[in-house]
């Protein structure tokens, strides 16, 4: 007499649940991991929310700092002006100061040392994209990139 064959069956509902969890879980985990490890991209690839002259930017901050903070802080700005000076590299960073007409305050653009074009010398016109962090003694822009 032949032995009865044992048939293993997987219930359909748990199978569907596991499938759905994998279908949703794997992309969600991948998205979470990518988002967690995301670094700030190059500013040159970001769109400027505002285009403004260096003189006008300093004036806006000194006239009403709270309003300027709300308008500019954390935003990508395209600032144009004349280079007052380029500072010596420090900690892998280089500050380029744009003229504002005020000898005690400028618009300071902080570049990664590798990103500073040699053409940014005193007196040269410049268009610089950077993220405004606010006003201390100067208006400070970080992660700057030159706009050709």
């Amino acid at each position: 007499m032949p032995m009865p064959r044992t048939v293993f069956t997987i219930p359909l509902i748990p199978l569907v649940i596991v499938g759905l969890l994998l279908l949703i879980g794997i992309p969600a985990a991948w998205y979470g991991w990518r988002e967690y490890n995301r670094t700030a991209g190059p500013t040159s690839e970001l769109e400027a929310t505002e285009t403004i002259e260096a003189v006008a930017l300093l004036q806006a901050y000194t006239a009403d700092e709270n309003a300027a903070n709300a308008r500019f802080n954390g935003k990508v700005l395209l600032v144009s002006g004349t280079v007052r000076e380029g500072k010596a590299p420090e900690n892998g960073l280089v500050d380029v100061v744009l003229e504002t007409g005020d000898p005690l305050a400028g618009v300071v653009c902080q570049f990664a040392q590798a990103d500073v074009p040699s053409a940014l010398t005193a007196g040269a016109p410049a268009r610089i994209k950077g993220i405004s962090t606010g006003l201390l003694m100067d208006v400070v822009l970080q992660r700057c990139a030159i706009v050709e």
Binding site: E35, Y36, N37, R38, T39, A40, N69, A70, N73, G74, K87, E90, N91, L93, D95, V108, Q110, I131, T133, G134, L136, M137, D138, V140, Q142, R143
Partner: protein, 183 residues
């Protein structure tokens, strides 16, 4: 007329400043570090301002909160939006006094142990802070001040959500390195 007044004021200010032996910088480095078994977090800001009066020992520093840069963009966003609320409180300031050094000590190269004591204002809360550090003239002529101290986020009404509480240290180490030049 206004221009002449401004020039006179600037001249007087510079004379007063030199009589007071003032030193300043716009490129001070402030970093903070949180180290837990779950996660290591650090952020750097190279744009702190500092003015130090060597005759009185008075020091004033300021830093823009949005100027702290993290390795990970998400951490920087959470720091600004959820923790320090930098739209509402864009600056942190410190106003205090350095003791253990004289104006004469800063005229020759060397490093001296100092104590700094004052009020740190952050996230709209002012708390007294006392720390040790070093100060002295570098071979370059810069007046270098360094200090490391710790703060508790809760002291500054910075709420850490329960979900990430184990990822963030109970005490955050703040490191200050500032090279002043004479005003």
């Amino acid at each position: 007329m206004t221009r002449n007044l401004l020039i006179t004021a600037a001249l007087l200010a510079s004379l007063t400043a030199s009589a007071q032996e003032r030193y300043a910088t716009r490129t001070g480095h402030i970093s903070f570090h949180s180290d837990t078994p779950m996660e290591k977090i650090e952020a750097h800001n190279h744009k702190a301002t500092s003015v130090f009066d060597a005759t009185t020992g008075a020091i004033e520093m300021a830093v823009l909160m949005k100027g702290f840069e993290f390795e990970k963009a998400l951490m920087q966003e959470h720091f600004n939006e959820n923790y320090v609320e930098s739209d509402k409180f864009p600056k942190a300031t410190f106003k205090g006094k350095i003791t253990g050094i004289t104006a004469e000590d800063l005229k020759k190269p060397g490093s001296h142990a100092v104590t700094v004591e004052g009020d740190l204002t952050m996230h709209g809360v002012t708390k007294p802070v006392k720390a040790t550090g070093t100060m002295g003239m570098e071979p370059t002529g810069a007046i270098r001040a360094t200090s490391t101290f710790s703060i508790k986020p809760e002291d500054y009404n910075i709420a850490i959500p329960g979900m990430v509480r184990d990822n963030i240290a109970k005490e955050i180490a703040i490191k200050v390195e500032v090279d002043h030049t004479k005003m």
